[in-house]
């Protein structure tokens, strides 16, 4: 199973930039917001927590359809399915690889982007904590969605349609956590809830993803 993870990371690094790209998307998204919304720092500071979380979520989303699609197209998925690796393990490794290439860099970069949007000072540690605890859930949910839509050409938009509603709870609590911290309120409760969602998603979704894969390979 480590072989799967290693291969996915190698592929991510070799073909098309890997780690850097989700970061770049995150950066661009946060710079685009002021272009749309206007340059008033007051408003920007107010929407910053939501925008940062939304950016992280979209950066995750954009790389989802590649999780299984390429393996499916070139026949690798068929072959892995007939190998000793259980599909549950495959799904878990895929989610982990996705998180390492997407979620992890976002956590590290978020504070810099917070500056651009004038996020108030006390919110920074909470921003990082909530992203660190929340992005694994995004990857796990996304892997499940990717497993559902593997085999559908042009599945990208369908995938986002399926996955985004599932992302809503994570988004709400994550953004709430940062927003509370930004206005000096207590932010522990939403943080704990984010962690809870992540724990649940990690425990259950690999099984759902494997079931979906099995159906799609049939």
């Amino acid at each position: 199973m480590i072989g799967l993870l290693k291969r996915d990371l190698t592929l991510a690094i070799r073909a098309g930039g890997g780690f850097g790209l989700s970061l770049a998307f995150f950066l661009i998204f946060t710079t685009l917001v002021p272009f749309g919304v206007g340059p008033q720092t007051q408003i920007l500071a107010e929407i910053a927590p939501g925008i940062l979380w939304l950016g992280a979520l979209l950066a995750c989303l954009l790389s989802l359809d590649r999780i299984f699609q390429l393996d499916w197209e070139d026949g690798t998925l068929d072959l892995v399915a007939t190998s000793p690796v259980p599909l549950e393990g495959l799904a878990a490794m895929k989610a982990l690889a996705h998180w390492i290439t997407t979620g992890l860099p976002l956590v590290a970069a978020a504070p810099v982007l917070g500056l651009l949007l004038n996020l108030p000072g006390p919110a920074y540690p909470w921003l990082m904590a909530s992203l660190a605890l929340g992005t694994p859930a995004l990857s796990a949910i996304g892997t499940f969605g990717a497993a559902l839509t593997v085999g559908i050409k042009r599945g990208g938009l369908l995938l986002s349609l399926l996955v985004l509603p599932l992302y809503i709870p994570t988004l709400i609590f994550g953004a709430l956590c940062v927003a509370r911290a930004a206005t000096g309120q207590d932010a522990t409760t939403p943080l704990v809830l984010v962690a809870g969602i992540t724990a649940g998603a990690l425990a259950l979704l690999p099984f759902a993803a494997a079931a979906a894969l099995r159906v799609n390979l049939r």
């Binding site: 073909a15 098309g16 930039g17 850097g20 790209l21 770049a24 950066l27 661009i28 710079t31 002021p34 272009f35 206007g38 340059p39 720092t41 920007l44 500056l115 651009l116 004038n118």
Partner: protein, 243 residues
């Protein structure tokens, strides 16, 4: 010298750049040290900006060179597209990371300057914002180089990107002015010097500017040499694998 285009031959370029490199690097070091030391230690504080005026000696040269670097990439890319001189496009590739670092310096020092002057790290001012966009263009250009395996295809595609990107960079600049009038300083370094900052600030600034310029030239020469070697390495490895 028969023709300027001869330098597009890798061997000729290697020879010429080997000669030029120590000189440009030396001038860059001298100018940078003189200019920065002069600027940091021997200029008075501004009556309004206090000692923050010293930031000008890194901020302005970096900003100016960041733009010039993109301009140089544009020119060398066009040369590649039209005359297909390999060294030309490799020079563009070599310049991109340098330009990106200059952009980053301008952004960082600007942000550090903004905190005391405007009371905020970041302001969505057109000048600053267009720098952020320039930074994104550098990132995209470099990422495209990295993503493509075949060197000639990568050269062609990045050149097309550089051309189209330049057009859009200009439109963005205009769009930004329209979007927000901004806080940033106007031009200090116009030809008509009398109307601008006084000589005490002017001389060290010009020297650091020259320093940044020569540093850029030296780095581009040096990195282009590396790129040429890497390109040859790639060719040789391909040849070995074919055998």
């Amino acid at each position: 010298m028969s023709s300027l285009w001869e330098y597009a031959n890798p061997r000729k370029f290697m020879a010429t750049s080997a000669f030029l490199l120590p000189w440009t690097a030396g001038i860059a070091a001298v100018c940078l040290v003189t200019g920065l030391v002069w600027g940091f230690f021997f200029t008075p504080d501004d009556f309004r900006q206090g000692s923050t005026v010293k930031i000008i000696y890194v901020h302005v040269p970096a900003a100016i060179m960041a733009i010039n670097a993109w301009f140089m990439m544009l020119v060398t890319s066009i040369i590649w597209v039209i005359r297909r001189h390999h060294v030309s496009v490799l020079a563009a590739k070599a310049a991109a990371p340098v330009g990106m670092v200059f952009t980053l310096i301008a952004l960082a020092t600007g942000a550090l300057w903004g905190q005391p002057m405007w009371g905020t790290w970041w302001e969505w001012d057109p000048r600053l914002t267009s720098f952020l966009i320039l930074f994104l263009f550098y990132l995209g250009y470099m990422a495209l180089w990295e993503a493509i395996e075949n060197p000639d295809s990568a050269a062609d595609l990045t050149s097309v990107l550089c051309l189209v990107g330049s057009v859009f960079a200009v439109i963005s600049r205009y769009a930004l002015l329209f979007w927000n009038q901004g806080l940033h300083q106007g031009a200090t370094l116009s030809l008509d010097r009398e109307q601008n900052i006084s000589n005490v600030y002017w001389y060290p600034l010009v020297i650091t500017l020259a320093g940044f310029g020569f540093l850029f030239i030296a780095l581009v020469l040096y990195r282009t040499r590396t790129e040429i070697r890497a390109r040859r390495l790639k060719a040789l490895i391909a040849q070995e694998r074919m055998a």
